[in-house]
């Protein structure tokens, strides 16, 4: 059961990371994790460490790039940035996601059986 949950997490995590980077521009791993947690209204309580394999995967696929830089309070941190391919991928995945959720939603809505 726990495994299923994490599968969903891995799949959607990539989308959330891409969306976060689109909204906030270049950001470090901590910032991304923090932002995802806040956006979810603290309902996604996941270890921050799990974000890093996902970042590596996205970077290998060429959707994001990384670069060491200085944070606001002068700390060295690795910043991730969306590439053009990443922007496209985000649009595609967002579309897919909306489609999936709307289909699933229709199945789950109470009137689905009786509505014409």
């Amino acid at each position: 059961m726990a495994r299923d949950k994490s599968d969903v997490w891995q799949g959607t995590l990539a989308l959330m990371i891409l969306k976060t980077l689109e909204a906030l521009g270049p950001l470090h791993g901590y910032g991304i994790a923090r932002r995802i947690e806040q956006t979810s209204g603290n309902r996604l309580a996941v270890n921050y460490g799990t974000i890093y394999p996902a970042l590596i995967k996205l970077e290998q696929e060429g959707y994001i790039t990384s670069e060491w830089g200085q944070s606001d309070n002068n700390r060295r941190a690795k910043y991730y940035k969306l590439t053009r391919a990443g922007t496209k991928q985000l649009q595609k995945e967002a579309r897919d996601w909306e489609q999936t959720t709307s289909i699933v939603a229709r199945f789950l809505s109470p009137e689905s059986g009786s509505s014409s």
Partner: protein, 896 residues
């Protein structure tokens, strides 16, 4: 694309591991710092802030590991780890590794070398385009009539009928051997030529290097004075001059225009690749149009044609055969008298060219497979022994979380690594073996020169190594990991705690090794006996001190039989006058020099009762003195004399097989016999000679009649073999013989100068090769099996040290210990021998066709090999038995 890119990056990630790891740590540190700072800002104490940040991050090591897995390829990393570990293990056991790798190298090397031979002879595509479409439709002898060989030539009539009527062939060509004397440009030379019809080159699909081959127009009687040269002839004789095209050569006294030059290596057909019933040259030097006349059949015409066809694309060999069957039936309906002579067998080219080598090669391949199996069993036994010593290691790994598959995987990595070492060494051995086979192997194995370590052979070696690695690694790995591992972790666990399964597996391996070695040694023994039987068999002639060569008279100069006979008589007179020559004679075909003529017989007073079983015999022309020169004993009657001439009574000499077959219980001398054709007179039998083996030493000589070349005989007398029995070394007589021939006709070249011994030797080279190879494999199998036996017995003796100590302390004598250990070994060996014996008896049928003069169930061989194996087994057991005998009970009891 993205996936591929990710995969390549991950692959690259394997290389730069440590640097990336460092970066990852740095990133995590920066992450934690940022988090702590935030936490402090919300009012936590620095310690609490750090604790919360670490908690929120989750396991740092786990995150690192999953990043590492994501970055690299975990499968490959485990593999690399396994290989590193395996290398370390192997390095620590140099003795074990060298024995195992060497054993494998012998097995893999031998099988790779044999495969390279099989590859060159049987598997490699032939150097003809779409060679699978090229076939040889041979005429078959009528069913029930055993003439010693199966494939026969077609006549002109049949070939023309096939060429006109067949629909499945794209091209159909006929060809026959012919020789030509080249004069007018330098020294006279006798050249081996081929007369081929216009369809010959298109059927083979070869194009000339220069110029063109002949067309239908040049394949007409009267227009055939054109020639296509072989590469070798063009280069050696005409120094590779491209301006040769269009020049005229004088062949047999006639002018021939050079049309083209064939590419290097095209010498088709080679004698060794054609059926034994044909006499082709070793290699063809030039091609001349066959120019068959379309008119009615001339009865005396010698039209012994071989036929080659190219099937239309999409037509299978079976379809070609079906059509030939139908055409044969039509011919049969037209010529009902020649009953059964229109059956054909369509042979694909690859099979034709491999010829008689196919089956011996497959036998050798089987033998080498057995050697490989023994080698693998041996290494499996070694690994099994070693894995017992590593029980604690496996237990520890299992306790630390390695599951069974992980352990098996690691053990397999080790054995594959071992196999790779063996394979590498094996390829080196194979290269050396190929080198030697090329130098020492029989020259009549077709395409032997093409044997090489090419891509396909290397792939085979790799495949064999992999399969062998899994084969000998899997059983020990599974057995080793299946045992109850907890027991062996206990420090005081009994050392001899070997499970039943392991002992059984080890014994089974040993027994099968002995059985396999037994089969191989039996096969080698039977073949060796066959070989020696062949060498000691009486061939019906005496090959020592005999020089032979061929004379080929140009038809333009020698136009009638009187001239020809005068030439030969003169030549024989000159030759007999030489001081070194004891006797001299000529014949149309030498023993071991190919097939002689054959004829259906007419025996006055013996009416043919069964038309399907007409009397038949070989038909050989000879001169007076030939029988003495070749050493065929005259059993009764007289030899031909100079007084047997065209004008005197026709005479013949028959061999004893013929005398027995057709005049059993009668005296053949004075009886009449003749060829079925009324063109030739029946001759009076004047003598009986011993049977002569003509095609191979294994043959049962068929009936044969000899006729004097001076009387009315066929075929043409233009090409004859001269036989000289010399007083001393036959080779040194060659120069004098050349001089003697020059004195009767200075333009006449001597061809195919050889000693009769060389010819006989040539007929057994393949046999010798098979014996040497199988003997070597048998010896190798014995060696490997005895090493395996030694290993198993010494290990089990070591395991029983304590037990032996107790026995000795209780009063057992050293002799008892020796008997016990030897008994253990001989029980296993005995079981192996029994199984091998059963297998050898079961396979006897397959072996029988390779044997001569010995039955596959030869009791002496079976008993001898059984004793040999038992002796080898006992010797292998003796060393560990002696060691056990010397066991000091006190030390043995303290051993654990």
């Amino acid at each position: 694309m993205r996936k591929l890119r990710a995969f390549l990056l991950r692959l690259a990630g394997l290389m730069v591991g440590p640097r990336r790891d460092h970066e990852l740590v740095e990133e995590f540190e920066s992450h934690l710092e940022l988090h702590i700072e935030d936490n402090v800002r919300t009012g936590m104490s620095p310690t609490e802030a750090r604790r919360q940040a670490l908690l929120k991050f989750g396991g740092v090591e786990a995150a690192k590991q999953s990043c590492r897995d994501r970055r690299g390829l975990p499968f490959l990393e485990t593999l690399a780890q396994d290989i590193r570990f395996a290398l370390r293990m192997l390095r620590k056991n140099p003795g074990f590794v060298s024995v195992a790798a060497l054993t494998l190298a012998l097995g893999i090397g031998a099988s790779t070398a044999v495969f390279s031979l099989v590859n060159a002879v049987l598997l490699k595509p032939l150097p003809y385009p779409n060679s699978e479409q090229i076939v040889f439709p041979w005429r078959q002898s009528p069913p029930g009539l055993n003439l010693g060989y199966n494939d026969f030539p077609w006549g002109r009539n049949e070939f023309l009928f096939f060429a006109q009527e067949s629909k499945t062939f794209e091209a159909l060509g006929a060809f026959r051997s012919d020789s030509f004397n080249l004069t007018g440009s330098g020294d006279p030379a006798r050249l081996d030529g081929l007369r081929a019809s216009a369809g010959f080159f298109p059927a083979l699909g070869v194009s000339p290097l220069l110029g063109r081959t002949f067309t239908e127009d040049e394949d007409q009687p009267g227009h055939e004075h054109s020639v296509v040269l072989g590469y070798q002839l063009w280069r050696d004789r005409f120094s590779g001059d491209p301006a040769i095209l269009g020049r005229t050569l004088e062949l047999n006294g006639d002018a021939y225009t050079v049309l083209g030059v064939m590419p290097r290596g095209f010498v088709f057909p080679r004698a060794q690749e054609m059926p034994g019933s044909f006499t082709f040259a070793r290699e063809v030097q030039l091609w001349i149009p066959l120019a068959l006349s379309r008119g009615p059949l001339i009865p005396a015409e010698s039209s012994e044609l071989a036929v080659v066809g190219r099937l239309k694309s999409g037509i299978t060999v079976a379809q070609g055969q079906a059509e030939m069957d139908v055409l044969g039936q039509r011919l049969q309906a037209q010529f009902p008298r020649a009953k059964g002579w229109f059956i054909s067998r369509v042979t694909p080219m690859a099979r034709q060219l491999a010829g008689d080598t196919r089956r011996p090669l497959l036998l050798i391949l089987g033998a080498v497979g057995i050697v490989l199996l023994i080698a693998c069993s041996n290494v499996a036994g070694l690994l099994l022994t070693r894995s017992l010593g590593r029980k604690r290691e496996f237990t520890l790994r299992a306790a630390l979380g390695a599951d069974k598959w992980r352990l098996i995987r690691q053990l397999l990595t080790e054995s594959l690594l071992l196999a790779a070492c063996g394979g590498l060494l094996g390829v080196v051995l194979a290269a050396a073996a190929i080198h030697f086979v090329k130098i020492l192997g029989p020259s009549n194995i077709p395409r032997l020169g093409e044997t090489a370590l090419d891509f396909r052979v290397l792939a085979f070696a790799l495949g064999v190594s992999l399969v062998a690695g899994v084969f000998f690694g899997l059983a020990p790995a599974i057995t080793a990991t299946q045992e109850n591992l907890i027991g062996s972790l206990k420090e005081g666990g009994p050392r001899s705690g070997e499970s039943h399964a392991t002992t059984k597996l080890r014994n089974a391996l040993l027994v099968s090794e002995v059985a396999l070695a037994f089969i191989l040694v039996i096969a080698a023994g039977l073949l060796a006996q066959t070989f020696f039987h062949l060498l000691s068999v009486d061939p019906g002639f005496n090959p020592s001190r005999v020089l032979t060569f061929e004379l080929s008279l140009p038809a333009s100069k020698y136009t009638n039989q009187e001239q020809i006979v005068a030439l030969y008589q003169g030549a024989l007179q000159q030759l007999r006058a030489l001081p070194d020559v004891e006797s001299a004679g000529i014949t149309e075909t030498l023993p071991m020099g190919g097939a002689t003529e054959g004829t259906a017989l007419r025996i006055p007073g013996h009416p043919v009762t069964d038309p399907n079983d007409r009397p038949y015999s070989n038909y050989t022309m000879a001169s007076p003195g030939y029988l003495a020169a070749v050493g065929t004993p005259l059993l009764r009657g007289r030899d031909f004399l100079e007084s047997d001439t065209a004008d005197s009574m026709p005479v013949t000499i028959v061999n004893s097989a013929m005398a027995k077959k057709y005049w059993s219980g009668e005296d053949p001398i004075g009886k009449q016999v003749g060829p079925l054709s009324q063109l030739y007179p029946a001759a009076t039998i004047i003598g009986i000679v011993a049977d002569t083996k003509r095609l191979s030493l294994r043959e049962e000589p068929p009936p044969e009649m000899y006729v004097p070349y001076t009387q009315k005989v066929w075929p043409s007398l233009l090409t004859m073999d001269v036989v000289l029995r010399t007083k001393a070394d036959p080779v040194s007589a060659a120069a004098a013989a050349r001089g003697a021939i020059r004195s009767v006709d200075p333009d006449l070249p001597l061809a195919n100068i050889a000693t009769l011994e060389t010819l006989v030797d040539g007929s057994v080279t393949q046999q010798r090769f098979a014996v040497v190879v199988l003997g070597a494999f048998g010896a190798l199998a014995l060696l490997l099996a005895s090493i395996g036996m030694y290993g198993v017995i010494s290990y089990s003796t070591m395991q029983r040290t304590q037990e032996i100590g107790i026995r000795m302390a209780l009063g057992a004598q050293r002799g008892n210990v020796l008997t016990m250990v030897l008994g253990h070994g001989s029980r296993l060996a005995g079981l192996g021998i029994a199984i091998g014996l059963a297998a050898a008896l079961a396979m006897g049928h397959t072996m029988a066709s390779f044997l001569y003069g010995v039955r596959p169930t030869d009791p002496l061989t079976l008993a001898g090999v059984s004793l040999l194996l038992l002796a080898v087994a006992l010797i292998a057991c003796y060393i560990p038995a002696r060691r056990a005998m010397r066991t000091d009970p006190v030390i043995a009891l303290r051993y654990e």
